[in-house]
Symmetry: C2
Subunit: 154 residues, 2 copies
């Protein structure tokens, strides 16, 4: 029997989606996510947990609530994430001196020592995915992306 031809990809498929920022944002986001998982397969840190550790590293003693606000994570979703990182010995929870509801967060010595390596991995991951973009293009992309989300229910 002849090879079936009707399944060959046509030349002018898909036009409307190409011009939607939201669609291309999701596709690009998936690509970044996948590559991040490859880079951090052995650690293991996910984008969210990496972001949490990096932020606590730069803001030692930050409260759980502030961390959530900074990263756009709801309090209900923060609780198990914090618990996971605490159970894995990467962050330490302490009580706030004046407000008994608040818990303040610190990296453990182990996490603090590992952070430079993890940061390098994150940069290597970005470098790999964004290989085709010049430095200037990456800066532009970064700037435009920030203007999309900053101040909008973050």
């Amino acid at each position: 029997m002849e090879k079936i031809e009707s399944r060959e990809k046509s030349t002018a498929e898909r036009r409307a989606l190409d011009s939607l920022v939201g669609y291309n944002l999701r596709r690009a986001s998936v690509v970044m996510l996948n590559d991040f998982e490859v880079e951090f397969a052995e650690v293991p840190l996910r984008p969210t947990t990496f972001a949490m550790l990096a932020t606590v590293d730069e803001n030692p003693g930050i409260s759980s609530a502030d961390l959530g606000r900074l990263l756009g994570i709801k309090s209900a979703n923060m609780a198990p994430l914090i618990a996971e990182l605490a159970n894995r010995g990467l962050i330490e929870r302490r009580g706030h001196a004046e407000d008994k509801r608040v818990q303040i967060l610190f990296l453990t010595a182990e996490a603090r020592n590992a952070m430079p390596k993890w940061r390098q991995q994150a940069l290597r991951h970005e470098e790999r995915v964004l290989l085709d973009l010049t430095r200037s293009e990456r800066a532009t992309l970064l700037r435009l992306l920030r203007r999309v989300w900053i101040g909008k229910g973050g």
Copy 2:
């Protein structure tokens, strides 16, 4: 008692994440997602199902497998999505004339009639989220985003 001061947001929080494209991509993606849900709350279409319908509309008779490849959706995830849209009377499945494994897809008359309105909603949604960006900036963002994901495990 005095107002507790230590929880005030500090001025120079978070530096490393700001320069990571992946992080800003996810934040921007979440903002777009949330606004999309608002715009399509009454329809109801999600970004994925809207993308499927728009693509079938522009490629009537496309196969389920080709649609999945085009949108980066795995076959295992396509099956229930196609079933949902078929059950809701928005797409119609027909057998392929020559290949009995293949099902080709068409919009129903109802979906075809509604598509212009749904496309307008999608544009309104984009317009609302990207209000701060000029046309030229949106075009730049679009172009850079496409270069991030095109040809990478789509």
